[in-house]
């Protein structure tokens, strides 16, 4: 699964992109976030407060309780601030 990070999530993790294979049982964005938080101190910093995070699956915004299903690309980022 390809992961993309943006804004301060990207900065905290230390990269904008990584490929991971989450273990069985990680079936939602929320579970993915909890699992990612365990991968490094930077990940822990980025994923400590899921309420501050938003996500997209295959370039569509989804709520954090969305099932990963057969997602190819998952993006995690702060609430958007364009315009």
């Amino acid at each position: 699964m390809d992961l993309l990070y943006f804004a301060w999530v990207r900065e905290a993790v230390g990269t904008g992109q990584e490929t991971v294979e989450p273990p069985a049982g990680v079936e939602t964005i929320a579970a993915l976030i909890d699992w990612l938080a365990t991968r490094s101190p930077g990940h822990a910093e980025a994923f400590r407060e899921p309420a501050r995070l938003r996500a997209a699956i295959d370039q569509q915004f989804v709520p954090l309780d969305a099932a990963l299903g057969s997602a190819r690309e998952v993006a995690i980022f702060p609430p958007v601030t364009g315009g």
């Binding site: 370039q59 702060p78 601030t81 315009g83």
Partner: protein, 149 residues
């Protein structure tokens, strides 16, 4: 006609407006967002999600075309580094009736704020800070929820 552009180059407002005016409409409405220098901000950076950004802006323009009787919709968003006083975003609509052009323009900017994957970082001298999303933007976007949307 839909035109969507996500570009690090400065926004050429006169060119964008001319294209909308050439659609044969009776009215053109625009909204331009500008980097404000108050509050100590010296520069702004815009990060985005390539691919998803363009798709979300096209979807937004299509939603406006479906909801109002428009002859043209233009959405141009700048990305990368920009200075105080420069344009961040330009929204423009062309329609036979002024109410359609104006309402659609307001819809575009309200929805863009919540529906398009951009992130702003402010520079104040050497310091930088990611801008926090505002609840008022969510409320403004909700205003347009409903049938046919």
């Amino acid at each position: 006609m839909i035109r969507v552009s996500v570009d690090p180059a400065p926004i050429e407002l006169a060119v964008e407006v001319a294209a909308l005016e050439a659609r044969g409409a009776g009215g053109v409405a625009t909204f331009t967002g500008i980097v404000r220098g108050d509050d100590g901000v010296t520069a702004l950076e815009l990060e985005h999600y390539p691919g998803m950004t363009e798709a979300s802006l096209v979807a937004l323009a299509e939603a406006a075309m479906a909801r109002w009787d428009l002859l043209g919709v233009t959405i141009v968003h700048r990305v990368g580094a920009m200075a105080v006083g420069e344009r961040i975003v330009f929204l423009g609509t062309a329609a036979h009736h002024r109410r359609e052009a104006l309402d659609a323009c307001a819809f575009l900017i309200d929805r863009l704020k919540t529906d398009a994957p951009f992130w702003k970082r402010e520079h104040r001298g050497g310091a930088t800070r990611w801008v926090e999303a505002r609840h008022s933007d969510e409320a403004a976007a909700q205003r347009w929820s409903g049938i046919g949307d």
